[in-house]
C-alpha cells in the first residue's frame, strides 16, 4: 500500500503519541494498584462510576471500524446509514441498558457471575452453555480483535507514510495494550477507555464543525449532495454501489440489491448484534447499582451520537469536497489512488485540514483518535478473551477434575491467557485478508446475536429459565448462521470458500437478493422461533440452580 501523503507532522504526532502512551501506562499502573484479587481483575465492581461506565461502554462499542470503516461506507452508500447510528443509540444503548443492563447487573450480582459466559452458565445451571459461550469467544473474538488491530495499524501506517514501519507499529500497539490489560485488569481497561473516549469525542466534534464550515453550513452541504446526484442522472457506474442507489441524501429503493446490502448487512446486522457482546455485558455487571447505569445513559448517548453521527454525516459530505477539489466523487478519487473505502475519511481529514490554522494539530488529533478507537476496543476484547480462558474455562476444567462445581480464581492464569491470545491476534494480522474490518465486525456481532440473544433475554426475564430451550436455540442460531454465511451470503462466503469447493460457485444462488441477505436476518428469527416452540411444548423444566438460590428474577 502506498503512503497517502507526506503532510503529517511526524514530530508533533510522535510527541502527542508519546504523551498518550505515558498516560495510558499510568492508568494501567492505577488499575494494577487497585486490583487486589481476581474479582477486581474481572469486574472491578465498586471501582467505577457512571462517567467511566458510559465512556468505557461507548469507546468499547465504537472501534475504528465505526469511524473510518462505516464512515467510509456512508461516503459510498449515503445518509440512509444514519439508521445504523439510530440503532446504535436505540438498541445498542437505550434497549441494552434498560432492557438488558439492569437485569444483567442484578442477576449477575445474585448469581455471583463475573463474565457473560459465567452468567449464562449459572442462570441455566449448565456447564455446556458456559463452555459453548467460552468456545465462541475464544474462536471468534481473536479474529474480530485482529481485524480491529489490523485496520487501525493499516490506516495509521498509510496515513502517516510509515508503511515501512508497519511491523513496529503493530507490535508496539499490541505491547501497550497487553501491558495495561495484563497488569491493570478491567479497572485499567475502563479508565483508559474513558480517556480514549474523550479524545475521540473532541476529534470528531472538530471534524464535523470544519466540514460544515467548508460546505457553508448544514443546508448548503446537503443541497450540494443533491446537486451532485442530479448531475449523475442516475448513473451509478464507478460509485461502488449496487442497483437501487438513489443518491447520498436518499434511501435506496426498497427490495433492491443496494437496499438489501445497506439494510440487512450494515444496519441490522451490526445494530442488533451489539446487544450480545460479551465485552459490553461486563460493563453492566461492573456497575455498583442501577442508579449508576441510569446516570451513564446520558453521557453514553451524547458520546455515541456525536462520534457516530459525525462520522456518518461527514462521510457523504466528502463527495462534495473531493468533487470540488479533484472533480471526482469520494469512491472514484480513492479508487484512482489505489485505495479502498476505509481510506476515504482519513484522506479527507488530511486534505481538509491542510490549509487551515492548527491543521497539523487537528490531523494528529484525528490520528490519535484512530489509535484510541482501535485500542479501546482491542483492550476490552483481550480482557474478555483472557478471562474466558483463565476464569471460565479454568473453572469448568477444575470443576470436572475435582468433582466440585465452583468458580476457581487465578489472576495469573487470566494474565497468561491474555498474553498467549495477544500473540495469536498479532499472528492473525499477518495471515488475514485485506479490507476485512467491516465484514469481520458484522460476522462476529451477527453470530453472537444469532446464537445467544434469545437465551440471554430468556434467562433475564424468566423465573425459571428452560435449559433445553436455550441449548436448542443456541444450536439452531449458530448452525443456521454458519450455513447461511458459508453457502448463501456472497459477502461472508469468501471467508471460508467451502461452497466454491463443493459446487464450483461461491454461493448457492449467486445474483439473487438472497445472496445479499445477511445471515442474521435468517438465523435470529429461527433461533427465537426454536426457543418459543420448546417453551410452549415444555411448559416448565426445573432449574436446580435457581431453585437453590431462590432466584425469582
Amino acid at each position: 500500500m502506498k503512503p497517502m501523503t507526506d503532510g503529517v507532522d511526524l514530530t508533533l504526532f510522535g510527541v502527542m503519541t508519546a504523551v498518550f502512551i505515558v498516560v495510558t501506562l499510568l492508568l494501567g499502573w492505577y488499575g494494577y494498584k487497585n486490583t487486589s484479587d481476581n474479582q477486581e481483575f474481572l469486574l472491578g465492581r465498586n471501582k467505577t462510576g457512571p462517567l467511566i461506565i458510559a465512556l468505557s461502554y461507548g469507546a468499547t462499542f465504537l472501534s475504528a471500524s465505526a469511524v473510518i470503516g462505516f464512515g467510509g461506507q456512508t461516503a459510498v452508500h449515503g445518509m440512509s446509514l444514519m439508521w445504523l447510528c439510530f440503532l446504535n443509540l436505540f438498541a445498542g444503548l437505550a434497549v441494552a441498558f434498560l432492557i438488558f443492563g439492569k437485569r444483567t447487573r442484578r442477576l449477575g450480582s445474585k448469581l455471583g457471575a463475573a463474565t457473560f459466559a459465567d452468567l449464562l452458565g449459572k442462570a441455566y445451571n449448565s456447564t455446556s452453555i458456559r463452555t459453548f459461550t467460552v468456545i465462541l469467544i475464544l474462536v471468534m473474538m481473536p479474529i474480530y480483535t485482529a481485524a480491529v488491530l489490523k485496520g487501525g495499524v493499516n490506516s495509521l501506517a498509510v496515513i502517516t507514510g510509515l508503511t515501512d514501519y508497519y511491523n513496529y507499529i503493530l507490535i508496539g500497539l499490541s505491547l501497550v495494550v497487553a501491558v495495561y490489560v495484563v497488569y491493570g485488569g478491567i479497572i485499567a481497561v475502563m479508565y483508559n477507555d474513558a480517556l480514549q473516549a474523550g479524545i475521540m469525542f473532541i476529534g470528531m466534534l472538530v471534524i464535523l464543525l470544519v466540514t460544515w464550515s467548508y460546505t457553508g453550513g448544514i443546508t448548503a452541504g446537503n443541497e450540494a449532495m443533491v446537486d451532485l446526484w442530479s448531475q449523475r442522472m442516475g448513473d451509478i457506474g464507478g460509485l461502488g454501489v449496487a442497483p437501487g442507489f438513489e443518491g447520498w441524501t436518499n434511501s435506496p429503493s426498497f427490495g433492491t440489491t443496494e437496499w438489501m446490502t445497506v439494510v440487512t448487512t450494515f444496519i441490522m446486522g451490526v445494530g442488533i448484534g451489539a446487544l450480545t457482546q460479551p465485552q459490553l455485558v461486563v460493563r453492566y455487571m461492573s456497575a455498583k447499582n442501577d442508579k449508576d447505569l441510569n446516570k451513564s445513559l446520558m453521557i453514553g448517548s451524547i458520546f455515541i451520537l456525536l462520534v457516530v453521527g459525525a462520522a456518518y454525516t461527514v462521510g457523504p459530505l466528502t463527495n462534495v469536497y473531493f468533487f470540488d477539489q479533484h472533480g471526482m466523487l469520494s469512491f472514484e478519487y480513492l479508487s484512482s489512488m489505489g485505495l479502498g473505502t476505509d481510506f476515504i475519511i482519513p484522506q479527507y481529514i488530511l486534505e481538509v485540514f491542510s490549509g487551515i490554522t492548527f491543521g497539523d494539530v487537528f490531523v494528529c488529533l484525528f490520528l490519535l483518535s484512530l489509535i484510541c478507537a482501535s485500542i479501546s476496543t482491542i483492550s476490552a476484547l483481550m480482557h474478555t478473551i483472557g478471562v474466558a480462558g483463565g476464569y471460565d474455562l479454568y473453572s469448568v476444567f477444575k470443576s470436572k477434575k475435582t468433582g466440585v462445581s465452583k468458580d476457581y480464581q487465578s489472576i495469573k492464569l487470566n494474565r497468561l491467557f491474555i498474553v498467549i491470545f495477544m500473540i495469536l491476534v498479532v499472528v492473525y494480522c499477518y495471515v488475514m485478508p485485506k479490507d476485512i474490518i467491516a465484514k469481520a465486525t458484522s460476522v462476529f456481532m451477527g453470530v453472537t446475536a444469532a446464537a445467544l440473544l434469545p437465551a440471554y433475554f430468556h434467562c433475564l426475564y424468566s423465573k425459571n429459565p428452560n435449559k433445553t430451550a436455550a441449548i436448542a436455540s443456541i444450536g439452531v442460531g449458530t448452525a443456521s448462521y454458519m450455513l447461511w454465511a458459508l453457502f448463501m451470503n456472497a459477502g461472508t462466503s469468501v471467508f471460508l470458500p467451502i461452497c466454491k469447493l463443493l459446487t464450483g460457485s461461491s454461493v448457492l444462488m449467486p445474483g439473487s437478493v438472497l445472496a445479499y441477505t445477511d445471515p442474521l436476518i435468517i438465523s435470529l428469527p429461527l433461533s427465537i422461533l426454536t426457543m418459543v416452540i420448546i417453551l410452549l411444548v415444555q411448559k416448565k423444566e426445573p432449574n436446580m440452580r435457581n431453585e437453590e438460590l431462590g432466584c425469582k428474577e
Binding site: P50, G78, M79, S80, M82, W83, C85, F86, L89, F90, L93, A94, L98, K102, R105, R106, S109, K110, I218, T219, A220, G221, N222, E223, M225, V226, T249, N250, S251, K288, N289, D290, K291, N294, K295, S296, L297, M298, I299, G300, S301, I302, L305, G309
Partner: protein
C-alpha cells in the same frame, strides 16, 4: 418538504430518531439517576 436541505423522509426520520433517543436517554438519566434506588445491592 425540505429540512436542512434533506427531503427523504427516511433519512430525516433517522436523524430525528437519533435526536429523540438522546433526549429520552438524557431525560431518563436525570429523572431516574437522581432518586432511583431500584435494584440496589440491598435488594440483591
Amino acid at each position: 418538504m425540505s429540512i436542512l436541505g434533506l427531503t427523504d423522509p427516511w433519512v430525516i426520520g433517522a436523524y430525528v430518531g437519533c435526536i429523540l433517543t438522546v433526549v429520552f436517554c438524557v431525560a431518563y438519566s436525570i429523572l431516574k439517576g437522581k432518586d432511583s434506588d431500584e435494584g440496589d445491592e440491598a435488594n440483591d
